[in-house]
Symmetry: C2
Subunit: 669 residues, 2 copies
Amino acid sequence: MEVATRSGGRPGDRYVRVLQPFAETFRRRAPGHLLVSEEVLRPRGPIGAATDLVRRIFVGQRLATEGEIRERIGPFKGLAVFASDNISSSAYASEEIMRVVVVAGAGALALTMPLTVAIVVVLGIVVTSYQQTIRAYPNGGGSYIVASDNLGKVPGLVAAAALLTDYVLTVAVSIAAGVAALTSVYPGIFEWRVAVGVGFVVLLWLGNIRGIRESANIFAIPTYVYLVAIYGLIGFGIWRVLTGTLPTYVAPAGWIPGHAVEALGLLLLFRAFAAGSVALTGTEAVSNGVPAFRPPESRNAGQVLILMGLFFGSIFLGISFLAAQLGVVPDPSEQETVISQIARTLVGAGTPFHLLIQLSTAFLLVLAANTAFADFPRLASILGKDRFMPRQFQFRGDRLAFTVGIMVLAVLSAVLIVAFGGSVTNLIPLYTVGVFVAFTLSQTGMVVHWWRARSTMHGWRWRAALNGAGAVATGIVAVIVGVAKFALGAWMVLLLIPLLIGLMWAIARHYHEVEGALALDWAGEALPERAPRVIVPVSRLDRAAFEALAYARSISADVTAVHVTDEREDLDEMRRRWEAWGGPVKLVILESPYRALLAPLMAYIEATETMDPSTPTTVVLPEFVPRHLWEYPLHNQTALRLKIRLFFRPNTVVIDVPYHLRNGEAGRH
Amino acid sequence: MEVATRSGGRPGDRYVRVLQPFAETFRRRAPGHLLVSEEVLRPRGPIGAATDLVRRIFVGQRLATEGEIRERIGPFKGLAVFASDNISSSAYASEEIMRVVVVAGAGALALTMPLTVAIVVVLGIVVTSYQQTIRAYPNGGGSYIVASDNLGKVPGLVAAAALLTDYVLTVAVSIAAGVAALTSVYPGIFEWRVAVGVGFVVLLWLGNIRGIRESANIFAIPTYVYLVAIYGLIGFGIWRVLTGTLPTYVAPAGWIPGHAVEALGLLLLFRAFAAGSVALTGTEAVSNGVPAFRPPESRNAGQVLILMGLFFGSIFLGISFLAAQLGVVPDPSEQETVISQIARTLVGAGTPFHLLIQLSTAFLLVLAANTAFADFPRLASILGKDRFMPRQFQFRGDRLAFTVGIMVLAVLSAVLIVAFGGSVTNLIPLYTVGVFVAFTLSQTGMVVHWWRARSTMHGWRWRAALNGAGAVATGIVAVIVGVAKFALGAWMVLLLIPLLIGLMWAIARHYHEVEGALALDWAGEALPERAPRVIVPVSRLDRAAFEALAYARSISADVTAVHVTDEREDLDEMRRRWEAWGGPVKLVILESPYRALLAPLMAYIEATETMDPSTPTTVVLPEFVPRHLWEYPLHNQTALRLKIRLFFRPNTVVIDVPYHLRNGEAGRH
């Protein structure tokens, strides 16, 4: 190491200078502090290069951690990214209300409009009270954070569990609805709807591993196309109503105008309201995503939230209004959506405008699922940081995306789509409960937030009152949804949430315990360096054993080779060759008449340790590494079993000394 | 280690004396040579004790390797053990001939007797020529050994592959036939025949793990009961024939006396001959098992072989004769065997004697499968010793049985029984080809054997002529069987044999290559002791990291801790705490802006190695061992990935320093 002698230098200098030919790879920042260039990630060999090419095509160039700020977005793209989930609900919200009330007869469809108005009122309350959350939590005010901050850990975890569940459902429901928008105009897809849905999940998975900026570019287009198209449709419809020129509506093929199968009771109304309140899902997204906005973050996010409420509310009202005017009935086979029926009645089936409406709806819905792909991994990473989820959820991939969370979400939502046959109506009962539980906790948390700040803040009373109104409104909806949908499937979610909380609690307790057990104040601690007693099990005198003995001798002077055998000839042969060798290592032969290999070795280790407990034991194992994987079962079976036995033994370190076999040569290393 | 100072002593003495308190466990035989008592195998803890109890009940007491000689057997038990396979063929050999000829009409059944005589003639030739093999190969003259010895490796492997295949079929066919003997008198079992067959395989598995002596005791009884019963039946039948008092035969319920579905051609005759030649399977067993006999081994084995031929030949002829006299037709549903039909006609259905015949036949057949359980593992272990099969086949369990071979045979034969629905007639076409291929190779090998010994031996000519006759006879049968049964299923075996040979060849080549690469003449070789450069990746300053650093320092003076991070705060904090500690280990911080952990570490290791290639690298990994298995995924993910990457890197040793967490305490080790 002659390079090290060029100068005396400060501590740490030497190790940097040693690396000078690697100046490209390691740039020196300070003594003992090297900055690693992207060079280290360069692929090696043809397989590595091919893998990297695929990665770059699908995932894109790597982004450095410091590059993050450039990924922020403004209100225009923000509306597309964060509001698409909520706005896209307009594609099915009216229809889900109609599907419930229609069981009380076609006449009950007249209730769709009043119920829509009621839900829009709740939306208004939620949007207003979330404005305050955005201001108060500029670093992201998801329900988990707000509830934990102000109400405590358990309410925080309830909100977190509720939201995680609902994010998975958001993906499943949105994609199922998007596929339904497609089957409305292309009925041939209907029998493949599960496969198409899973395909969209995979596309979203890939898209999200690319990171947020690309998503925004993809998103902006369909969101605004949808807005233009749907407003065009609604405006055209209203004009036809005002001019009294509405065309005649033809019900879908499967529709049988029967009488009511259920009386119009309070529970049915509640169920319809609960079905429609799916419209509010996605409102959380903006307050969650405040830090993703360009500065001033809070103002941009607040604007997006208000715009979202206005757009969504007006579309929701417009669709319900037109459906009522036309007398649209929901398609029992779920093949054609209500919006498609409105569009085909107003502009004609299969016309370009009808197709535009359907395709942009489908695109928007599928991409709206993307909001959950941003929210779920972000919440999971926050929970991971707080030790409520495994550490892996914090890891960010090449493009700064939380790859583990994205994968978990994709897998779970694909499973849901398959399990529920891709049906929106089957999935809806599980949805929404969690969202409203989270809303209620978040708004209640905000009330406590203002109460705590009362001494330093003017106007805390009206702020608290506003959030209090939000808490009451969303709390009532949560109860209505929970009760009305309980038997239909909400029970699954209400069972899952406590299970998730228990799991998160157990994970946190485990991490906490480990933390405590491992904590050590290093200041002043001296390293207890005790040279180990080394035992080398030797089955044959070959190169692998030789390497292992050489290594053992290089780390300790106290080395014993142990040979276990049940054959007398083998025993004599071993001793003879060992003496002929005359090396510096002592040999102990254990004659095992019952052919056991591991037990005598373990007993021997124990015996030596009992005689001299202060010296730690190290076992050095010669391990032969074959060239091909299929050759593995032909070797090392005993070494593997020994390793497993020793791994759980305290005070014992096991060292594999691998011996690599190379093509055509002796491969000595 | 003050005990070591008691005396000076010879080399090796010290390590024995260190173990004195363990005198019970390790008895000293010579310096550096300890005899391990059964003590080391004593179970520990309640689970270990329970497992051991189960093992002792099912497997029995352990046997020492030296105890083997006591397990030898004499001709009386030898007939039971080695001849039962062959003798039991009489339970189905006549029937299988009849099932073939009957397709040419009931009249063609008259051909059964002549075909039986022809097969018995071949049997006589084989028995005679195998007498010579037994004399020439007192250590076991299986076809593999005889063919390898005299014809070369490839013919030897052909014989081995053929035999291995046929042993598996022996188990499947014998057990299926045994179950058929039971269903003849207990038709209720018929629908469970697959499950009952698999159950018998499991019983044989357990029985064989207990070892050969117990098997012999189990065997002797049913073999001799069968002989007495079947000779009684045949004798009674012949007496009725001679006295002209044969009762009237009633065909089974499913029998429709139709006309011929196929003309009586040469191929049909060949097929019938091939089906009946199943009678010769099992002849190999005795010559394989010579060393299992009490001395004089060859004479005892030779006697057993002759007795076997006489017993089997006479029973086979007797059954075929009575079947022809009574006009028995095979049951199309396979529910009632031909022997059962003969018995019920002669002595009455359901009479005690009828039941005795059927039950002893069933027992004999199931236990005859046991011959294969002795032969298959023995042949596999010989192939293992010759490196044509994985080493594991050589391992002998607590009772000196080849446990791996027994397990493989049990699993394969159970799979066959399930796959062929437990039907003897479906399995038969696969059977027999292999046996006759092996016979032919073995006899041809014997001809070469005598030719080679011609200079030192009188009468080599007639010996060679005798074996030559055997080779020609069995060769003709092998061709007849292969052609006649090809389309019915023999093609599977004829395809499998070359595949097996290829596999064995590949295994042998691999072991041979490894042997060559690892071979080292130790005499005079000096151990190349080079103190390693140790790198300790440290993610946090905790107890686990501390232990790892302490261990690293104990094995080398050249230790570097490496910390990879992408966060500036973490970086500063780490450096601050490291300096505060002031320990004897230098720290290098790698700042990784792209968040990669492994790549910078690997690049760093490479860089240090390039600068100083003569020093081997050792990586010491702090590894946290949690208390419960479910906690594993919460830890060590990075360590695991690093280990996998480093395992395939030459010149690098990886050391896990496990840190065990104990209940309720800090668990420092």
